[in-house]
Symmetry: C2
Subunit: 87 residues, 2 copies
């Protein structure tokens, strides 16, 4: 399963969220990470992140695709993430 | 074509970017908009946005899918966008 995680969290919690998310996914740009995960690993990531966010204030959106095959990405402007995750 | 736009721009330019992007896509949460666009409309949106960003500092990522069929979305935490764009 291909995952795009977009987070919108209070600046006080960004580092914690990023530290956890980077164990599972590749950082793309501020508030965006991507990568291939199994259902079980996704659930673990979600549990870990749920422990550090404030659900009344923070938002995590997980876009899920069966695979990354049909997904393409086009960047305009500066390339912030590593190129290693090119689709 | 289904589009997820994620932007990482200098705070000075966020309002301009958002004002343009909202003409084409639905706001989901900070720095994320989504929607169905034709190739031509996408190109127009990209041209419009290119005029207001600083390509050396700002980044716009357009995730493109042939359609939204295989895309699912799971939110943890607070729901910031409108529910009307439920996939």
């Amino acid at each position: 399963m291909y995952i795009i995680l977009v987070y919108d969290v209070n600046v006080k919690r960004v580092n914690k969220v990023l530290k956890i998310a980077r164990k599972y996914l590749t950082w793309v740009q501020n508030s965006v990470l991507e990568g291939e995960l199994t259902e079980a690993t996704l659930k673990k990531l979600q549990r870990d992140l749920s422990k550090v966010i404030d659900p009344n204030e923070d938002a995590l959106i997980f876009y899920k695709l069966p695979d990354g095959k049909n997904l393409s990405r086009e960047t305009i402007g500066t390339q912030k993430g590593k190129e290693t995750w090119v689709l």
